[in-house]
C-alpha cells in the first residue's frame, strides 16, 4: 500500500462519515436553520468525493451551484417562511415513521445487495484524470449538444416561472391601502398593520 492510496482511504472515510452524519442531521434535527447549514456541509463533502473520483470540474460546479446557489436559496426561503408554529398532532405519526423507516431500510438492503452481487466489469479503462474537463467540453459540444441547449431553455423557463410564482400582487394592495407603492410597502404588504387598514377581508 502506497502513501497516496492510504491518504485516499483516510479522505474517503472522513468524507463519508461527514456525509452520512450530515444527511442524518438534515433529516432529523428539529431546528431547520441547522439543517440548512448541515446541508451545505453535505454538499461540500460530496464535492470532496468528486475530487477523489478524478473529477475536478464537476467538484467545482458542485461547490458553485449547490453550495453557492441552492443552499443560499434554501436559507433565504427559511428566512422568508420561518414562523414559529405549533404543528398539530397527526394520529399515527410514529407508526408512519417506523413503517417508512422499514421501507427505506429494505430499499437500502436491496441496493447494497445489488452493489455487491453484480459482476462489475472491473477494472475498466484507465481514468483520464486531469483531461476530464476537456472531455466534458467535447461531449457538451458534440454528442450532448441538444441536451446542453435544452438545459439553457429549461433554466430560462425556471427563472421566469420562479419570478411569476414568487411575485407579490402589488397592484391589489396598492388599491386597497391607497398608499404609493414603494419597496418598503411591498415588503410589508402582508403584515397585520396593513391588513387592519383594509375595509374588508383581502381577497386571497
Amino acid at each position: 500500500m502506497t502513501i497516496a492510496s492510504f491518504t485516499q482511504l483516510i479522505c474517503f472515510s472522513i468524507l463519508s462519515i461527514t456525509l452520512v452524519l450530515g444527511a442524518l442531521g438534515v433529516v432529523l434535527l428539529p431546528n431547520i436553520v441547522y439543517s440548512a447549514f448541515l446541508l451545505g456541509g453535505v454538499f461540500l463533502s460530496v464535492a470532496g468525493l468528486y475530487l477523489l473520483l478524478n473529477a475536478s470540474f464537476v467538484a467545482a460546479a458542485q461547490v458553485l451551484v449547490y453550495v453557492g446557489a441552492v443552499n443560499v436559496l434554501i436559507l433565504f426561503a427559511i428566512m422568508l417562511v420561518n414562523k414559529k408554529e405549533n404543528l398539530a398532532a397527526v394520529p399515527g405519526l410514529p407508526l408512519r415513521r417506523v413503517l417508512s423507516g422499514l421501507v427505506c431500510g429494505g430499499l437500502l438492503a436491496l441496493l447494497i445487495r445489488v452493489a455487491f452481487t453484480t459482476p462489475w466489469a472491473l477494472p475498466g479503462p484507465s481514468p483520464v484524470g486531469e483531461e476530464a474537463t476537456i472531455r466534458i467540453g467535447e461531449h457538451l459540444f458534440s454528442d450532448y449538444l441538444l441536451p446542453f441547449e435544452l438545459a439553457s431553455v429549461l433554466l430560462l423557463m425556471a427563472m421566469i416561472g420562479a419570478i411569476v410564482l414568487a411575485r407579490r400582487d402589488v397592484f391589489s394592495s396598492d388599491i386597497v391601502t391607497g398608499a404609493p407603492v414603494d419597496q418598503g410597502l411591498i415588503e410589508k404588504a402582508r403584515t397585520p398593520l396593513l391588513i387592519q387598514n383594509t375595509v374588508q377581508e383581502p381577497v386571497r
Binding site: L49, F76, S100, L108, L155
Partner: protein
C-alpha cells in the same frame, strides 16, 4: 493478526454511500412536516444519484466520461427545481400561512 485494508477504494464503497444518502433522503421526504425540509431531502436524493453516476464514470467508463456529463445535467436540473420549488413554497405560504405539509391537502379528496 493483520488487518487487510484494501489498496484502493472499491467501487462498492461509493455505491453503498450513495444508497445510504438516497435512503436517508427518501425517509426525510416521507416524514418531514416542514416543506423546506422536503426540498432539502430531494436535494439529498439527487446528490446520492450524482455520486453513483460519478463512481461509474470513474471506475467503468474512464475514457468517455459520460457519467460526469450526466452529473452536470442533473446539477442544472436540480438548480432549476430548487428555484421553482421554493417559489411555489413561497406562494403556498402566502396563501395558507403555514409550511406544514399535513395542511397542504387542497387537492385531496
Amino acid at each position: 493478526m493483520t488487518i487487510n485494508l484494501p489498496t484502493s477504494i472499491p467501487l462498492q464503497a461509493y455505491l453503498v454511500l450513495a444508497a445510504l444518502l438516497f435512503c436517508i433522503g427518501v425517509w426525510g421526504l416521507i416524514n418531514s412536516r416542514n416543506a423546506v425540509r422536503v426540498l432539502m431531502s430531494i436535494e439529498l436524493m439527487l446528490n446520492g444519484v450524482n455520486i453513483n453516476l460519478m463512481a461509474f464514470s470513474d471506475y467503468l467508463d474512464g475514457q468517455l466520461i459520460r457519467g460526469q456529463v450526466f452529473t452536470i445535467f442533473v446539477i442544472t436540473v436540480a438548480a432549476a427545481e430548487a428555484a421553482v420549488g421554493l417559489a411555489i413554497l413561497l406562494s403556498l405560504y402566502r396563501n395558507r400561512e403555514t409550511v406544514d405539509m399535513e395542511r397542504f391537502n387542497l387537492l385531496r379528496w
